[in-house]
Structures are given as structure tokens and as C-alpha cells.
């Protein structure tokens, strides 16, 4: 039998949903384990400690996946260690590749985030005005330490060299299955690539006007999903539902659109685009029929950063400047 591929999974600042996509391979996971040897999978699945990872020889792991973004000093340390130990490193899913949902935290200051969570929220009882602290001496004798929250979030490739990127929040298990097969077969593109079928969500959407003879029109209506229900056969964008399908990678098979809900871009930007949100804003603005439609859009979605950069704020060219200047977001 050929030597197994030594494989690692590390959860950084994320929800472990990407790892669950691997578990969702279901019975095919058992087959994959004939070819993959899992040498590290923490904290979620294996009882491997960070010290075990540190003790491994450099480049002893063939293939490592990181899900989650870099949010605190522990994430930063562990991904650097994993990079040293691994031949190939994959940013696995929307958080590692683009920041993900929680990167919207950077639209506020760290102090604002803390104050809301530990002081101002309805059920919080904090009479002494204490906040979690990286180092605290309890009762004068117990020295307790916590990783410090970093001033801003980072994607994986902003802190270490990354060989491949995978989109999706999380990547669909069917796509993960294809990836695993490609990896086992040694069929990978040049380093630095996104692992994707290269198609946009629109290309895999069964409502695509180009394939259904619906005709293409400028958008003259703007609707939120609380306003109305769309016709299930007609392009969502053309019905006024702000769908990001044109600029999003379609490795999901257009899953949200299949249940009549607009795409929000978790799959990552189609090839050739670096700043997803900027391209998305430009795509929508340029498809609107007139100024009145644009005005409607601005009335209905008044926080555009949290719409266009829902999954990708950390890759925005503007984001660190915004984080530095932001006082509050209504």
C-alpha cells in the first residue's frame, strides 16, 4: 500500500463547521482514511495538545488544513507552528480565506465589542466593572492567563504563507469529497490557487437568465426577504432580491438559491477578484436601473459594509483604515 498522506486539521478563530464538513463525508470518510493518516486534529477531534504539535519535526505533516481566522495570540502562535510543520497548508473555508462572519467585529473597536458583551448587554451583572484580562492573579495566588484578543482579525495568508484557499461557510461536504479525491490522486493546481471549480454561483444556478431564456433586465426593485417571497423560477436579482451570485464562486451548487434565498458570498470571490465586497458593490450598483432604485437600496440596506463584506471583511482594502476610524455603527 502506498504511504498514507499525513494530514492535520487545526481550528483557529472559527466555529469548526468546516471540520464538520469533513465529518459529513459520512461513510466516505471511512474510505478516505485508507489514504489519509490523521496526525493532528485539535481541539475538536483528536486528543493532541499544542505541545504535541510543537514536538513534531518540521515539514513532517504532508497536508494541513486551518479553519477559522486569526483572532487572538493563541491562533497566531498555533498557525505559525503548524506552518513550520507542514509541507502544504490550506486556508479551509471562508474565515481562514477571507475573515468570515466574525471578522465584522473589525467594524468596531475592541473596546466596543468588550463593553457590549461584558457590560451593556441586558443580562450582564458586572458591578465591579471587570473585564477578561490576559493575565490575572486570583485570590493573590492563582496566576491565570488567557490569550489576548488581537487589535484586528487576520486571514491565514496575512500571517503565514498559504498554499491553497477554499471558500464556503462551510465548504459543502460534496465539494470536500471532490477535494479529498483530488488530493489523494495528487491532482492539485499550482500553489497559491483557490481550489474551486472556477464557476460563479450564477453558472450553476438553475434560474440563470442566460440558460432559461428569461431575458436580462436592469434591476428596478429592491426587496429584503421580509418584504416578499420570490418566484422560484426567476433570477433573484432580477426580482429585486440582492443576490451576490454573479461574483461568488459556485462550489456550493447554488445551495441558498435552491431554497429561494439570495447568496451572500460565502463561497469567496470568482477568480481574478481580490476584494469581494468592492466588486460586489460595483456589480449591484451597475445593474440598477436608475437613481430611484439606488436610493431604495440605500434606504433598505443602510449598513453596506455588513452586507457586501459579510464574509470577507478582512480581505477588504479599506478594512483596517475603517477599524481605526470607526466610532460606532448604527
Amino acid at each position: 500500500m502506498a504511504e498514507k498522506i499525513k494530514t492535520a486539521f487545526l481550528l483557529a478563530g472559527g466555529c469548526a463547521g468546516c471540520e464538520m464538513s469533513v465529518v459529513d463525508l459520512s461513510e466516505h470518510l471511512v474510505d478516505a482514511l485508507d489514504s489519509l493518516e490523521i496526525v493532528f486534529w485539535a481541539p475538536t477531534v483528536l486528543d493532541a495538545k499544542y505541545s504535541d504539535l510543537e514536538a513534531m519535526p518540521d515539514k513532517s505533516i504532508d497536508l494541513a488544513f486551518v479553519d477559522g481566522m486569526i483572532r487572538n495570540t493563541e491562533n497566531l502562535h498555533t498557525v505559525k507552528v503548524l506552518r513550520d510543520k507542514s509541507k502544504v497548508l490550506v486556508a479551509f473555508g471562508a474565515c481562514a480565506s477571507m475573515g468570515g462572519i466574525a471578522a465584522m467585529g473589525d467594524l468596531h473597536t475592541k473596546q466596543e465589542l468588550f463593553q457590549e458583551a461584558y457590560k451593556d448587554s441586558f443580562s450582564t451583572d458586572n458591578p465591579d466593572n471587570v473585564y477578561p484580562s490576559p493575565e490575572y492573579l486570583l485570590d493573590g495566588k492563582y496566576n491565570l492567563t488567557l490569550p489576548a484578543i488581537l487589535d484586528h482579525c487576520s486571514t491565514l495568508d496575512q500571517v503565514v504563507d498559504v498554499d491553497y484557499f477554499v471558500g464556503g461557510c462551510p465548504p459543502n461536504y460534496a465539494f470536500v469529497g471532490k477535494l479529498v479525491n483530488a488530493i489523494i490522486a495528487g491532482d492539485l493546481p499550482p500553489a497559491g490557487s483557490w481550489l474551486t471549480n472556477g464557476k460563479a454561483v450564477c453558472d450553476v444556478c438553475k434560474r440563470n437568465p442566460a440558460t432559461t431564456n428569461q431575458g436580462r433586465f436592469l434591476v428596478d426593485e429592491v426587496k429584503r426577504t421580509c418584504d416578499d417571497r420570490p418566484d422560484p423560477e426567476i433570477c433573484l436579482l432580477q426580482q429585486g432580491f440582492m443576490c451576490f451570485g454573479p461574483v461568488t464562486q459556485g462550489d456550493c451548487g447554488g445551495s441558498c438559491l435552491n431554497v429561494n434565498i439570495p447568496c451572500r458570498g460565502c463561497g469567496g470571490p470568482i477568480p481574478g477578484i481580490k476584494d469581494f465586497g468592492a466588486r460586489c458593490a460595483s456589480m449591484l450598483a451597475s445593474s440598477m436601473a436608475d437613481d430611484a432604485t439606488t436610493q431604495k437600496f440605500m434606504d433598505k440596506f443602510n449598513n453596506m459594509a455588513k452586507l457586501f463584506y459579510r464574509y470577507s471583511h478582512t480581505t477588504s482594502k479599506l478594512n483596517h483604515a475603517i477599524a481605526g476610524h470607526k466610532e460606532d455603527t448604527p
Binding site: L11, C15, A16, G17, C18, E19, M20, S21, S26, E27, V30, L33, I38, P43, T44, V45, L46, D47, A48, K49, R71, N72, A102, G105, H108, F114, A117, Y118, S121, F122, S123, T124, D125, N126, Y131, P132, L138, K141, Y142, L144, L146, P147, P170, N172, Y173, R224, T225, C226, R229, C256, N258, V259, I261, K300, F301, N302, N303, R310, T329, P330
Partner: protein
């Protein structure tokens, strides 16, 4: 004083560590469970359209992938003052119960069972789902994973995505179920009921019939005396999607019941500087008394064991039989033995599977009426559900357009922060003696938090020989032998 850290604690979702302080003779002076991460959802949800919140907050956890989505969508209904039509609600319940099955299965097999099927003192390299598959045999592993995968398929069919679903809309559900799809879901649900029965059989064979395990399950080492909270339906039976919250103290005395915004009369959360996780406590019992157990404590627990303690019975017939056996085994209520969380979880998994089957056979579920159109905005909503790990509360305020202005989330594992700390302290003091902190001893300490969050770790002995002989018989609904799986 010498300090030992277990970092990261493993086989859970998210990041935590345990800090243990030893005195000069190498015994435990004190121990702390610390949550080491923070993301700040309460703040950054502000400014978002409320109907986009369910799919956004879902990402708080990718293991309990259906719970934040479901709590938020119930809150969103209230924000717009709408109630889903019966079929809309039933689709949501089917979706949510399918989530229960797949999530409880992951917890039991991938994260919990390894401790006692592979063994608590086994090599850490083997004590995981891969080692479990090696121990029980690839056929059993493949069958369990395949059946669990069917629950994920129901979740995906209804929710749009296999994780972080999107089908919630104010007043209903965006995906209609066709008759063809209903038949498919019914067939899958039948297999989920089989998975539930199979899991309880494994639990029975491996744990209940093992005297050493039962000594541990019913003994004092893994026992934490706190109050409990969970949802009940109008008959007092267990319910996951919607109910009234029932709160009891550590003696089992009723503290009260609440719905919606009344949660603020019952629960407050204390902040500590040494962990990012707050400590909820029962305000009705009195002001903050510290992280203490026993009579008078206002620390409380949630999750499968808590639910077993507050409900009068299960809402489905086969699970009800196991519920009765569960309480006959322990006798007195409330049950404070935390390793029983695992048994409770298996019973709930079966009950959720029965619920999926029941809903899939409901003729109304294929109705076209799955949505009530919102016509106004009330500006406030509280969604409370029984998440797989326990009571989950989402509370939102919005402006007149339904844009979020304030968010408050009390997450299941947060409720359990106090009990987990108590359990960790107790296990550390019991197992660590004279400075012996070998990896297997430290795994026993880790087992004290796993029942609450993701896992049971039921462990007094190591399975020897690498493989535990295991034979599983699966019967069809008529009681005929369908398949026999064995690893020897």
C-alpha cells in the same frame, strides 16, 4: 505553587483550557476551566437587517449548526409580529429535530464514545473517532456515519445548506416540501429511529452492563449538585423547538417557569476576569453566591441531563420507555451524576428521530402555506429554544425598519460554565495525587467537562487488546433481523 495547564482541552468545539494548581505535596489546591476565545457577536450584529441574523448567528457554532439559526428565527417572527402557518412551523421542527439527531450522534460517537470504547488511558493517538472506527470495525463505523449522514441530508434539503442554513424567513420557511421529498424524508427518518435504537443498544452493552462503569456513573466523583433548567410542553413533557422554561433548584424544588423576555427576571450573568465566558446564575434564588454547589446554590445546569430532571416524560413512545429506565436506575430526582448526560443524550437522539418520522408522516407538512407575510415591525423579539446542549436565548431590539440596534445572547454552554468549573475542580482533586499528572490522569480530568458540552467520558478501565469485540444487530420495524455487524 506548581501550575499545570491542559491546553487545549480537546474533543469539544471551540477553545478552552484547564489550569490546575498543586500544593507542595503535589495534591490539587484548586482548578479552573477557562474559555479562551471571544468574538463579539452582540456588537457587530447591530446595523444588520434582522431577517439576515439567523443565517449570520448560525456561525457562532459549526457543530451545533442548527441552534443559533433556530433561536434567532423565532425572535425574528416576534420582531415582525408574525406566526408561521402550521406547515411552516412543522418544517422548522422537522429541520430542528434532524439537527438534533446528527448533532447528538457526532457528540456520542466522534467526541464522547472514544473515551470508553477505545479507553480513557489509551494512547491519545488512538482515542478519537479514527480509533473508534478501528475498535468497532469499519463496517459498524461506516453504517453509523451513513445513517447520521441521512439526518444531515434532511437538514440540507430543508435548510438549503448542510450547515449554517438559510431557509428561515420572518413568519415561516422558504423551502416547500414536495410529496416526493416527503417520502424520501420518511424513509430516511425510519433509518434515524434505527440509529437511535442502535445507539442505546451500544450504550446498554458497553456501559450499563459494565459494573465498573456503572459504579463511576452512579458514584460521587462525577457528581455536581446544582439547579436545572429546560423546556416543557403544556403536558410537562420534553420539547426542543418551543416550550415554557422550567427552573428547579438543586433539591428539585420548582423555582418558577418563564417565557420570552421574562428570562431577565430569572437569569443574570456574572463576569470574571480570568475567562472570556460569563457565569449565569438564578436571580430568583438570590444574588450572586459564587461558583458553589449544594443546597442554596444559584448555579444551574442545562442540556440533556437538565432536561431529564425537569420534564415529566418524553413526547415520543420508544424514548419514553428509555426515560423510565433512566429514572428507575438513579431513583431520586434530580439526577446530579454528570456522566448520565451521555445516556440522556442517547435517549434524546432517539426521541428526535421519532419526531422526524412523525412529522414526515404528517399530511400537512407538504402544504403550500408555509409563510405568513409580515405587515409591521414591533421592534423586539426573544427566541428561546432547547438547543442540543441546553437552553439558548436570543434577544434582539430593532429600529422601525427591522435593523438591529441591540442583541443579547445567552448560549447553552455559558449556562453550564459554573457547573463545568465545579466538575473540573472535583475531578482534579480526586484523580491527581502526589504530583502524578500523567496524560491518562489528565484525560480523566478532561472527562469532567465533556458531558456538559460535547461528550461523555465514561471511564474506569481501559479496553485491552486494541479492539473490543462488539456485535450489533439491527432490526427492521417488524422486528426482523436486518443486518448483523461485528468486528471479530
Amino acid at each position: 505553587m506548581k501550575k499545570i495547564e491542559i491546553n487545549p482541552i480537546t474533543r469539544l468545539e471551540g477553545h478552552g483550557k484547564i489550569a490546575i494548581f498543586l500544593d507542595d505535596s503535589g495534591n490539587v489546591d484548586d482548578a479552573f476551566f477557562q474559555t479562551v476565545e471571544f468574538r463579539g457577536y452582540e456588537k457587530f450584529l447591530q446595523g444588520m437587517p434582522i431577517e439576515e441574523v439567523p443565517r449570520t448567528v448560525s456561525t457562532i457554532c459549526g457543530v451545533c449548526r442548527g441552534v443559533h439559526f433556530t433561536a434567532a428565527m423565532k425572535a425574528v417572527d416576534q420582531v415582525f409580529g408574525v406566526t408561521p402557518p402550521p406547515a411552516g412551523r412543522k418544517l422548522r421542527e422537522l429541520f430542528f429535530n434532524a439537527h438534533y439527531v446528527e448533532d447528538h450522534t457526532v457528540v456520542l460517537y466522534a467526541l464522547g464514545f472514544p473515551d470508553f470504547v477505545v479507553g480513557p488511558e489509551a494512547s491519545p493517538a488512538e482515542r478519537n473517532v479514527v480509533g473508534l472506527i478501528n475498535a468497532v470495525g469499519a463496517d459498524v463505523g461506516r453504517e453509523v456515519l451513513r445513517k447520521r449522514g441521512l439526518a444531515v441530508k434532511i437538514f440540507e434539503l430543508l435548510g438549503g445548506k448542510p450547515s449554517h442554513a438559510v431557509s428561515a424567513i420572518p413568519g415561516g420557511w422558504s423551502k416547500k416540501l414536495s410529496e416526493e421529498e416527503r417520502k424520501q424524508v420518511e424513509a430516511w427518518s425510519q433509518e434515524l429511529v434505527e440509529l437511535g435504537e442502535l445507539t442505546l443498544k451500544i450504550f446498554d452493552d458497553v456501559v450499563l452492563k459494565n459494573d465498573k462503569y456503572m459504579e463511576l456513573v452512579t458514584g460521587d466523583t462525577y457528581k455536581v449538585e446544582v439547579g436545572y433548567m429546560g423546556s416543557v410542553d403544556p403536558q410537562g413533557l420534553g420539547t426542543f423547538y418551543h416550550g415554557t422554561q422550567k427552573v428547579i433548584d438543586s433539591d428539585g424544588k420548582l423555582i418558577g417557569t418563564f417565557e420570552g423576555k421574562e428570562y431577565l427576571d430569572f437569569i443574570a450573568e456574572r463576569v470574571k476576569p480570568w475567562t472570556y465566558l460569563k457565569f449565569p446564575y438564578q436571580k430568583k434564588i438570590g444574588p450572586w453566591k459564587g461558583i458553589v454547589e449544594g443546597p442554596g446554590t444559584n448555579i444551574f445546569a442545562v442540556g440533556p441531563l437538565a432536561r431529564m430532571n425537569v420534564i415529566e416524560g418524553m413526547s415520543t413512545p420508544i424514548a419514553q420507555k428509555h426515560f423510565e429506565k433512566f429514572h428507575a436506575t438513579f431513583g431520586a430526582k434530580p439526577v446530579h451524576h454528570i456522566l448520565a448526560y451521555h445516556w440522556a443524550r442517547a435517549i434524546e437522539m432517539l426521541s428526535a428521530a421519532e419526531k422526524c418520522l412523525e412529522l414526515s408522516r404528517d399530511p400537512e407538512i407538504t402544504s403550500n402555506e408555509i409563510w405568513t407575510k409580515p405587515t409591521s415591525c414591533t421592534g423586539e423579539g426573544v427566541g428561546i429554544i432547547e438547543a442540543s446542549r441546553g437552553t439558548l436565548i436570543h434577544h434582539y431590539l430593532t429600529d422601525e425598519k427591522g435593523i438591529v440596534t441591540k442583541a443579547n445572547l445567552i448560549v447553552s454552554t455559558t449556562h453550564n460554565n459554573g457547573p463545568i468549573n465545579l466538575a473540573v475542580k472535583k475531578a482534579a482533586r480526586h484523580f491527581i495525587k502526589n504530583g502524578d499528572v500523567s496524560p491518562s490522569i489528565l484525560n480523566y480530568v478532561e472527562m469532567s467537562f465533556r458531558p456538559y458540552d460535547l461528550c461523555l467520558a465514561c471511564a474506569t478501565h481501559t479496553v485491552t487488546g486494541g479492539q473490543s469485540p462488539l456485535e450489533i444487530e439491527i432490526f427492521d420495524k417488524d422486528g426482523k433481523l436486518y443486518k448483523r455487524l461485528k468486528n471479530f
